[in-house]
């Protein structure tokens, strides 16, 4: 009886697990394996690739030109992550301390952009930032009002407004990346801060600490696992960002994903593109391993209680 039941349950297990496993194998693992193999190959003519086991593609990736772009990607992703943390922490804190009635709506506002296509959101940003965009309209209005006010009191009017060049530069890329990745930062921070025992903050106040001191001595150290999670979860996709630098960036704002895209398309150099892809993936793995290492001590602490 028990044996039959276990056979049945095993059958049910495989019946439900097999289709998704096949899906993952056919559409993810196998293509990934192909790309991995390509990264040790050479171009043959226009379309052919021979997998010769060469490390030349990896060696080429470490040429100064590509290292520079990689370093720049790390820098841009790092600045993005830092800005997300600086903006996201107060936002998460505000949501945690908002009243019960408001909290779900505020969380919804944070998550809402997830439900819109990235491409559409990026085009919307272009409409905001371009020379005839809303930011420049707003600034022009303020400029002209100020100019008019000056003439009212009998002063020389200001020079005509020069629209700010907000688009197609590194500023636009970082701006776009921060906008897109902010929810990735806010949500883990919110989860960590929400778990925090309020009485710990009250105890800090009670013992004479001000709000800032409480924030840095109590809240930040205790929310550290959430902060690390947020940083990694933001940094990893920002490092591999492709669409944002492509649409918002200028000629010097390329990131590593744009180079990879070019290898597969315009340059038609699949083996080199594959090698770059895998290097990016390894860098991501290192970041995730780092998080596991950093949060290992915390997890042990949590089990100790």
């Amino acid at each position: 009886m028990a044996a039959r039941e276990s056979t049945e349950s095993r059958l049910a297990f495989w019946a439900t697990a097999l289709p998704p496993l096949l899906w993952v194998a056919v559409f993810f693992l196998i293509p990934l394996g192909v790309i991995w193999a390509y990264s040790f190959g050479e171009n043959l003519g226009l379309t052919g690739v021979s997998i010769s086991g060469t490390f030349a593609n990896y060696a080429r990736a470490f040429e100064p030109l590509y290292l520079q772009i990689f370093a720049k990607s790390v820098f841009v992703a790092g600045v993005t992550t830092l800005l997300c943390l600086i903006i996201g922490f107060p936002v998460a804190l505000a949501i945690v301390f908002a009243s019960e009635r408001w909290r779900p709506w505020l969380l919804l506002l944070v998550m809402l952009p997830f439900w819109t296509n990235l491409l559409i959101r990026t085009y919307a940003l272009i409409a905001v930032l371009r020379t005839e965009g809303y930011v420049n309209y707003g600034l022009a209005w303020i400029w002209e009002s100020a100019s008019w006010l000056k003439t009212l009191v009998g002063l020389e009017p200001l020079a005509p407004y020069e629209p700010l060049q907000l688009l197609y530069n590194n500023f636009a890329v970082v701006f776009g990346l921060v906008y897109v990745h902010l929810p990735f930062m806010v949500l883990p921070l919110y989860a960590a801060l929400d778990r925090l025992d309020r009485s710990l903050m009250e105890a800090s106040l009670d013992l004479g600490a001000g709000h800032l001191r409480t924030l840095f001595s109590i809240v930040v150290p205790l929310a550290l696992p959430g902060i690390i999670s947020g940083v990694i979860i933001t940094f990893v996709p920002a490092l591999g960002a492709y669409l944002t630098p492509d649409l918002l960036g200028g000629p010097d704002s390329q990131m590593i994903a744009n180079v990879i895209e070019r290898q597969f398309k315009k340059a038609n150099d699949w083996p080199f593109g594959a090698a770059l892809s895998f290097l990016l993936m390894y860098a991501t793995f290192i970041a995730i391993a780092l998080r596991a290492y950093l949060s290992r001590g915390k997890a042990a602490d949590a089990h100790g209680i």
Partner: protein, 383 residues
């Protein structure tokens, strides 16, 4: 507020804490409803009441963690309206202890002193003194997750006391401990209070705890103070049915006041008829109006049925007695609780100490018995 309790002694001592007409509303909910209260220096004061009675809100307003909607709070004569929590001369032991989990025991205790910029050598001495005071001197380097619940509570105590506050606030200090430890900590808390000599204010829902530790208790109900007094005041002279019922257990009989003279009062209770309740003194209330008679279970005596009814002290024959059948006996070791069915409504609770090792066998289930009580035992209540 009902003022039937004896007024607190009006001494020349300036109160360390004054609540004046405090009202606290959360939205439309009134948590504290016009409370005025003075607490004297050196008292071990307890705010006692069921959950939601406003006692914790009152304590949190004192600490500055809540702001009163109306009224003022004075600490040592100083108005606290504009003083934030981190500048008040009081410190709190939280219900969850709120020991900082990322700091060692010593760092937890030193936290408040570092904020006050107490110089290093003095800080070290004071931390060690505070830890010794709560017998944790040997655990200074431990992290909180290596401590038991009782030890964590001592850290919270040391951390608050090291600041030398004018008043120490304790929010349900013993509720998270197991029963045996709780008994021990009750004793330790009162010892500690005598040693450091500062005012302690404790919030609790546990009447035993309040009676055992506090020198004075305010019983709270629905945001107001139901009665204020010493533990024995509250137990022996409750001012209302709520207080009589909340503190200890009690037999409550509804009745009519039929006679009220300076040296004699009589209440007719349908549940005790044909016998009446007789008291050898005047009582509050008007003749021919409904009143309640409250009698504590340990003040009722159990008698074997020998044919003649017993005659209790301080009352004429035929009063303060009832006849019934034992419905239930709860043997608690030191005492036994008897539930007597008079056949007219509620069971009468009688508690009887087991003075000898065979006492519990002297009465049996379903046995016919008489109960009686002295004339001075009942309390007549109007509300």
């Amino acid at each position: 507020m009902n003022d039937a309790s004896p007024a607190p002694p009006k001494s020349a001592v300036k109160p360390i804490i004054s609540f004046r007409n405090i009202v606290k509303k959360f939205g439309s909910m009134v948590a504290v409803d016009n409370v005025s209260l003075d607490i004297e220096p050196g008292e071990f004061f307890a705010l006692l009441g069921p959950s939601g009675c406003g006692k914790t809100t009152l304590l949190r307003m004192l600490a500055g963690l809540e702001v009163p909607t109306e009224g003022e709070i004075l600490i040592d004569g100083q108005d606290m309206r504009t003083i934030p929590a981190n500048k008040r001369p009081v410190n709190m032991v939280f219900q969850s202890y709120a020991v900082f989990p990322h700091m060692s025991v010593a760092d937890n205790v030193a936290y408040g002193l570092k904020i006050d910029r107490v110089p290093e050598p003095e800080r070290k001495t004071r931390v060690q003194e505070a830890l010794d005071l709560v017998q944790l001197g040997h655990l200074a380097a431990r992290m909180p997750d290596q401590l038991s619940g009782g030890q964590r509570q001592r850290v919270a105590l040391a951390r608050a006391l090291v600041k030398r506050p004018k008043v120490l606030l304790l929010d349900e200090p013993l509720s998270a401990l197991d029963a045996k430890l709780r008994e021990a900590m009750r004793f330790e808390l009162s010892q500690l209070q005598q040693k450091v000599g500062i005012t302690f204010i404790m919030v609790t829902h546990d009447q035993d705890e309040a009676l055992a530790i506090a020198s004075r208790i305010a019983v709270m109900n629905k945001g107001s103070i139901a009665q204020l007094g010493t533990p024995s005041d509250l137990y022996e002279f409750p001012a209302s049915r709520f207080v009589a019922d909340f503190i200890g257990s009690v037999n409550m009989f509804e009745g009519t006041l039929v006679r009220d003279e300076p040296d004699e009062a009589v209440v007719d209770c349908p549940e005790l008829a044909p016998h009446a309740v007789h008291l050898p003194h005047a009582v509050p209330g008007k003749v021919n109006t409904p009143v309640w008679v409250a009698i504590r279970p340990e003040k009722i005596t159990l008698h074997k049925d020998s044919g003649t009814p017993p005659t209790p002290a301080e009352c004429p024959a035929g009063h303060n007695i009832a006849k019934g059948v034992i419905r239930e006996i709860s043997y608690l070791g030191d005492t036994s609780i008897f539930h007597i069915d008079t056949g007219k409504g509620n069971l009468i609770r009688v508690s009887r100490p087991n003075r000898s090792r065979w006492d519990q066998d002297s009465f049996d289930w379903k046995e016919q018995v008489w109960v009686s009580w002295a004339g001075s035992s009942p309390v007549v209540l109007l509300s």
